[in-house]
Amino acid sequence: MYILIGGGGQVGYYLAKGLLQQGHEVLLLEKDGRRVRQLTEELGPVVFKGDACEARVLAEVGCDRADLVIAVTGEDEDNLVICQVAKARFHVNRTVARVNNPRNDDLFSKLGIDVTVSPTRSIQHIIEAEIPHHNLVPLMTLTKAGLSLVELTIPPDSPAAGRELRTMNLPSSANVALVVRGGENITPSGDTIVQPEDRIFALVTEAGEAALRQTILGEEE
């Protein structure tokens, strides 16, 4: 694949390095001359001095044949423009933007960015996972599909403990994909019996999540 990365900060650098090792054709765009020299020394001739949100620069680096454009500057607004220009003017298939303000997640998707990555949100989820009373932790949001991947830990007093999955009448919008019990991965079926301390991974819609909370965590509607 031919991959363009906008932003030569830490993220851009490590991303470029990893993708090059995987054998892709990568070009890293960075505005600052000194940083460009530094990056070129470490990565080789795969760095271009220029502002990735300028159409002129993108044209010069052959954006029209890029398979993927990844915008990882420190500013949401710059990442947005890089991706929008790449799509609107150069018809790039797939654009990925780093989003610092979690509020911009949905907006960027609405504006046509294919994938948004929010470090803030990821860390928030990790923190939630560390807090004992958070039994249901969202791991990943698949915005386009309207689904979330969530992890639930079965509490000892769960109304679902000791019951077979099929008796819980979970809707299809709450799709239990995996049960992890004491280090063992169990592919769930209707007769899987749920036990306290089990970790359940499910693909859910908002309604599905509510159903899980009610059935497994005993939360009121």
């Binding site: 300028e54 607004e77 609405k110």
Partner: protein, 164 residues
């Protein structure tokens, strides 16, 4: 009309004053409180908002949910573009405009339905007219613009030169 302006630099402040003079309801946002001194003593403080105009909460505080128009004139093209799209898509403001200095970026966003003014092109054209058309300088509408008099809404009649 109820308008919200993002950016209290020279253009933002002047625009605010022009609109107030015509009795419109104007709120202005800037990240730096000192910028509001450009508005003069009479500008009501409750119509100024300190904050980041790309933050939904700040825009909400400034009255975007009920605004008729939003104008982004910070000195950053990308900031103007992001704020304007928030105004359009999150708040559904009927009229949204911004300043975009980069002519190619302006072209791209115009095609995507974002109205903007590009001072780079406007300025270059004004200079071109002033330099290349000295004969028509007095009667050119752009001459009027360049000298800071009000923009004519109708085509100027050369025989009425000087009466503006």
């Amino acid at each position: 009309m109820k308008l919200v302006i993002l950016g209290c630099g020279r253009v933002g402040a002047t625009l605010a004053q022009l609109l107030i003079a015509e009795n419109h309801d104007v709120t202005i946002i800037d990240q730096n409180g000192d910028a509001f001194s450009r508005l003069g003593q009479d500008f009501p403080q409750e119509k100024t908002v300190i904050g980041d105009g790309t933050d939904e909460d700040v825009l909400r505080r400034a009255g975007l949910p009920s605004a008729d128009a939003f104008v982004a004139v910070t000195n950053g093209d990308n900031r103007n573009i992001l704020a304007s799209q928030i105004a359009q898509h999150t708040f559904g403001v009927p009229k949204v405009m911004c300043r975009i200095y980069d002519p190619i970026r302006q072209e791209t966003y115009n095609a995507m339905g974002l109205d903007s003014i590009c001072p780079t092109i406007v300025g270059a054209k004004l200079f071109r007219d002033a330099l290349l058309n000295p004969v028509t300088r007095q009667t050119s509408p752009t001459h009027s613009l360049a000298q800071g008099t009000s923009v004519p809404l109708t085509r100027m009649d050369p025989s009425r030169a000087g009466s503006n």
